[in-house]
């Protein structure tokens, strides 16, 4: 096991990793930018080093500086957290070349999942279901019709070069496809200078459900159940829960086995998450794999008792996974609310500032992972998430009611937060009924 680990991150996840290190008897080294001199992770770590000015590109993304600090401080390994350098294979190789251990997967596994097209092909070969559709561009309407009938309507017509929803249209039959095809071709040409289109199955009432996996360097792979993360805004998750209301033990086993095949196909060797889209008939399709710890990992920890961050460290140190698949159980239900410093009344506009008052509620069923304190200034340089609150209950309803109670007893002043949004969402009939599709936030407003 390592005796000292550097954490190349900030905020709540740096604090979370420091806690795991302390529990394992490992000394910790924090790094920080000039904007984070007073940050909680700096205070919590055994040692802390300034690595640069506020912009991330000059501090938390400065690979050589971080590695230099790790070597000088005598750290043997680097934990990247999430974001920043967590999925950067160049960084992983640099860490290894410096004679240090990266607490995460091997760089080839990260690269295999880094390219969407390559990942899709690898997954298909491994027998992991992907959204049916064309992988190569099509330019002929008759061919488009043939493919649409093969995969079944409704289909989504998309511009190959597209982005931001431009040149995307749903078609429910041949006639609509003809129209959509012409329209998208025209737009794709006008906006991107490339009329090439592709077609994929349109997923109705999609849910975002992901499977946590743990894989070691000795060929052992297990899955640690699902998390449902359908409630998102700007493609960013806001509320997550485990288990999912729609996942039966049979579906869990099927999705879990698929996720394990995905990890095995790329020789994965740490904690990772395989994300799936699940449609209204509970078909599931591979979306992508996150080759790092996830923000929402606590809902898994709260319902299984498995410490994922400790396992990341142990696996990186070469330890064998002693957990077997049959050891993974589900105890109750957990819901996580991400607390963002933003104004829900102003279209979730960022709200940096100094926290003038902060009162966290305390319950034995509540976990709060955060990186702030009263008097701390939330700067505009990094992402707006300041905390995660995770409530546990014996079932979903108890967890929901407890989460509401905890949020109502939280006081954060000086910055605006999305707590009012959480309270509205958790009490909305669609949430109570478990009708949490990826369109939840717009469904809520209807």
């Amino acid at each position: 096991m390592f005796s000292k680990v550097l954490i190349a991150n900030r905020g709540e996840i740096a604090c979370r990793v420091i806690r795991a290190c302390k529990e394992l008897g490992i000394k910790t080294v924090a790094v920080y930018s000039e904007a984070d001199k007073e940050a909680l992770h700096v205070k919590m770590a055994d040692e802390a080093y300034l690595i640069g000015p506020p912009p991330a590109a000059q501090s938390y993304l400065n690979m050589d500086k971080i590695i230099e600090v790790a070597k000088n401080a005598g750290a043997e390994a680097i934990h990247p957290g999430y974001g920043f350098l967590a999925e950067n294979s160049t960084f992983i190789r640099k860490v290894q070349e410096a004679g240090l251990v990266f607490i995460g997967p091997n760089p080839e596994a990260v690269e295999a999942m880094g390219s969407k097209i390559e990942a899709r092909q690898t997954m298909q070969k491994a027998g992991v279901p992907v959204v049916p559709g064309t992988t190569e561009g099509i330019s002929d309407l008759e061919e488009a019709k043939r493919i649409a009938n093969e995969i079944g309507y409704p289909v989504m017509v998309k511009a190959s070069a597209g982005g931001g929803g431009i040149g995307m249209q749903i078609a429910k039959n041949d006639a609509e496809l003809e129209q959509a095809f012409k329209m998208c071709q025209m737009r794709a040409k006008a906006y991107f200078g490339d009329p090439t289109l592709y077609i994929e199955k349109y997923i109705e009432q999609p849910r975002h459900i992901e499977i946590q996996v743990l894989a070691d360097k000795h060929g052992n792979v297990i899955h640690v159940n699902e998390r449902e993360c359908s409630i998102q805004r700007r493609h960013q998750k806001v509320i997550e829960e485990s288990p999912s209301v729609v996942v039966t033990p049979e579906l869990r086993e099927k999705m879990g086995e698929a996720a394990k095949r995905a990890a095995e196909a790329i020789n994965y060797d740490n904690a990772g998450t395989v994300e799936f889209l699940v449609d209204k008939d509970l078909n599931f399709y591979f979306l992508e794999m996150n080759t790092r710890i996830q923000v929402e990992h606590p809902v898994t920890e709260m319902t299984t008792g498995i410490d994922l961050v400790q396992w990341q460290i142990k696996i990186a140190a070469g330890e064998e996974l002693t957990l077997k698949q049959e050891d993974v159980k589900i105890n109750g239900h957990a819901i996580e609310c991400r607390i963002y410093a933003e104004d829900p009344d102003k279209n979730f506009m960022p709200s940096p500032g100094t926290i003038t008052k902060l009162v966290w509620p305390e319950y034995e069923w509540l976990r709060i992972d955060h990186g702030v304190y009263e008097g701390f200034t939330v700067t505009p340089f990094y992402d707006p998430m300041i905390a995660k609150m995770i409530a546990w209950g014996k079932d979903r309803e108890e967890a929901r009611l407890r989460m509401i109670e905890a949020l109502k007893n939280t006081v954060i002043e000086g910055v605006k937060t999305n707590i009012p949004f959480h309270l509205e969402a958790l009490q909305h009939p669609l949430f109570i009924e478990g009708k949490t599709y990826t369109s939840f936030i717009s469904d809520m407003k209807k």
């Binding site: 506009m349 960022p350 709200s351 940096p352 500032g353 505009p380 340089f381 992402d383 707006p384």
Partner: protein
Amino acid sequence: MAEIISPMAGVVAEVKVKPGDTVEPGQELFIMESMKMMIPLEADKGGVVKEVKVNVGDFVNEGDVVIVLED
């Protein structure tokens, strides 16, 4: 005269007008980057740009005057 103030702390990512420009109400004047988001800021009323007080890359605090408009 109207002062356009920054509604939040952040970095100026783009300035879309220059002195002498006539702007309409609702027109995008500049883009701020704060907390990893790009936030476009619009003129609440029309006028002629008298002064642009910031450059791209400048850090501004909440309440700082960014642009001065003449009626």
